[in-house]
């Protein structure tokens, strides 16, 4: 394993040597951070009843599990599948499609709870008053059109580079 150095942040083991001024900034930031963390803890203890802590902890753990255990692996799987398709489809086209899917997915993540809450009811006609489902479909349509147009323009303008990229891949 020692032979492989992945291209990722913070190679383990060997921190780069830091100068004295950098060290001072680091100490200042860590001190500031600890003070703010302490304030946060005090506010939490003072303002939030202890009976709420298990629920808060559950949300913290749930957030990590949902992101690191479910969302990120799904994203990895999808991008892997797209990369495999790269044998036949120009990579730039895949990247454009992938980008559109991500934009649509993030918008869905924010809008879907609105649709659910609207279904449950708000007791307030001015809260969540729009047709969010239709809005989402509209966004998907705009994304589809823009993606098709971008791919079209790309294929028309850069045919030579596509073949080069495909050969090298």
């Amino acid at each position: 394993m020692a032979a492989v150095t992945p291209p990722v942040v913070n190679p383990p083991g060997a921190p780069a040597p830091v100068g004295r001024s950098t060290r001072r900034i680091q100490q200042g930031l860590i001190g500031l951070g600890l003070v703010l963390l302490a304030i946060g803890a005090i506010v939490l203890v003072q303002d939030v009843a202890a009976k709420n802590y298990p629920g808060l902890l559950l949300w913290f753990a749930g957030a990590l599990v949902l992101h690191d255990g479910i969302l990120a692996p799904i994203v990895f799987g999808v991008s892997l599948m797209l990369r495999r398709a790269g044998k036949r489809i120009p990579f730039a086209v895949l990247l454009i499609v992938q980008g559109a899917v991500v934009v649509g997915a993030i918008a869905t993540l924010l809008v879907f709870p609105e649709i659910l809450k609207q279904g449950i009811g708000t007791g307030n006609a001015t809260l969540l008053p729009l047709n969010y489902g239709a809005g989402l479909i509209g966004l998907y349509a705009v994304l589809a059109v823009l993606t098709a147009a971008t791919v079209g323009v790309y294929l028309r303008l850069r045919p030579s580079q596509i073949s080069v990229e495909q050969r090298s891949a």
């Binding site: 680091q26 860590i30 939030v48 913290f60 990120a72 990247l95 993030i106 924010l110 709870p113 001015t126």
Partner: protein, 414 residues
């Protein structure tokens, strides 16, 4: 079976991607830090407007001040979704670093990152749900938790920046980043690079991943950053219209829409929710103004008989939506003069509303004596709708909507 260490190493290598570099982490991290700090600053301002320390005085101009700060708070909060996801995507392989814990400081660092990530995710998700008023989903009080977590997040951010400072400075500019990368020879490893083959099912999976074509690095990085930019722009265009009128035509996703509501204005808390549907329309309703021993009561007709003023002021909710409207009624200053209140007096406002921490609030003299501060009887040329605070409500420049007390009952000099 490969041991866990090797499995983690394989996973980390398999997850490597051209868009997962220190440079992309720095580029996205900078933007995310700006968004976090904007949220923190505007959030603190909003907090102290609602819970001021005794010595605090606030500016009443520009009248759109709170409309802007809270609009920025919510819009920056929405932007944290694409930015945080992008940041986590860029550094995700680090989750599988081996050995998982090298030393006690390393354990502390990883624990602080876990706290940072968890608090950030919980903060933006509950913040979003709060704007949909979907409180039943989380088993803790929103406002207090949101406030406490803001310090946890900014504290963790400071520590995170401190620990990553060498990497951040090495990749701050494109040129410096390129120099650093070429100095670190192993940095251009493709997924197809040789590695000791793991045995069994996992080994076959990693081998299969290795055979997958690598993404072209430059195009991938560009596509990654472009995607983050487009997602951010799309969210601003489709939601920020609730706070900034210029984007109202494209507001299709915000939980509020300008112009939708009684008197053409959205409502935060309805009369039914505040349980004032009977008390607010009681024929014997009066507004009582008290200064020590001196006390005067005004019926709605008596308030309407005082000199009337018309002001254009925004109603700006802590949930981010806002809308400027035309209000009409007597000046608060004139009412306070009828009981001989000092010009630097603080006022306690009491509402008819029930079960609300905002039923009794205080107002500093900078607002109480401002010429634009009215006890509003009319909105948009019509009597106040009961959901907007009939028979009378407060409207002052630059204050959060929850402090613009509806269904006024008493005003006391304190």
């Amino acid at each position: 079976m490969p041991d866990v260490q090797q499995l983690m190493g394989e996973a980390r290598r398999a997850l490597a991607a051209p868009s997962r570099t220190p440079r992309t982490a720095v580029v996205v991290g900078r933007l995310l830090a700006i968004a976090f700090l904007l949220c923190f600053g505007t959030g603190l301002f909003s907090h102290y407007l609602q819970d001021p320390l005794p010595w605090m005085r606030f500016p009443t101009r520009p009248t759109f001040l709170y409309q802007w700060t809270q609009g920025i708070h919510i819009t920056a909060g929405i932007l944290c979704f694409p930015l945080l996801f992008a940041k986590l995507y860029a550094v995700f392989p680090e989750l599988f670093q081996t050995p998982a814990i090298r030393s006690f400081p390393h354990f502390l660092e990883r624990a602080s990152i876990a706290l940072f990530v968890a608090a950030s995710l919980v903060q933006i998700v509950t913040g979003m749900l709060n704007t949909y008023q979907w409180y039943a989903l989380f088993p803790f009080p929103f406002r207090q938790t949101h406030y406490a977590l803001s310090f946890v997040i900014i504290g963790s951010l400071a520590i995170h920046i401190a620990l990553k400072l060498p990497i951040i400075s090495a990749h701050w500019t494109k040129r410096a980043s390129a120099t650093t990368v070429s100095a670190e020879t192993g940095d251009a490893v493709s997924p197809a690079a040789a590695s000791p083959a793991a045995a069994g099912v996992t080994g076959r999976i990693f081998a299969w991943i290795d055979r997958t074509p690598a993404a072209p690095p430059r195009a991938s990085r560009r596509a990654f950053l472009t995607t983050v930019g487009v997602a951010s722009a799309a969210l601003v265009v489709t939601t920020a219209g609730q706070s900034f009128r210029v984007l109202d035509p494209t507001n299709i996703f915000a939980p509020r829409k300008a112009g939708i509501g009684p008197n053409g204005l959205p409502v935060n808390r309805t009369a039914a929710a505040a349980k004032v549907t009977e008390t607010a329309v009681a024929p014997d309703w009066t507004l009582t103004v008290t200064n020590g021993e001196t006390s005067r009561s005004f019926s709605r007709a008596a308030l309407a008989a005082l000199p009337q003023h018309q002001v254009d002021l925004p109603i700006a909710c802590v949930e981010g939506w806002s809308q400027t409207a035309s209000w009409r009624g007597p000046r608060l200053s004139d009412l306070l003069d009828t009981v001989g209140a000092d010009t630097d007096a603080r006022i306690r406002l009491t509402s008819l509303e029930q079960k609300s921490s905002y039923a009794v609030t205080e107002m500093g003299p900078e607002y109480a004596r401002d010429a634009l501060t009215l006890v509003a009887l009319e909105l948009a040329g019509q009597p106040l709708d009961i959901d907007h605070g009939y028979p009378a409500r407060m409207i002052a420049p630059g204050r959060p909507g929850v402090m613009q007390t509806k269904w006024l009952s008493t005003l006391e000099v304190i």
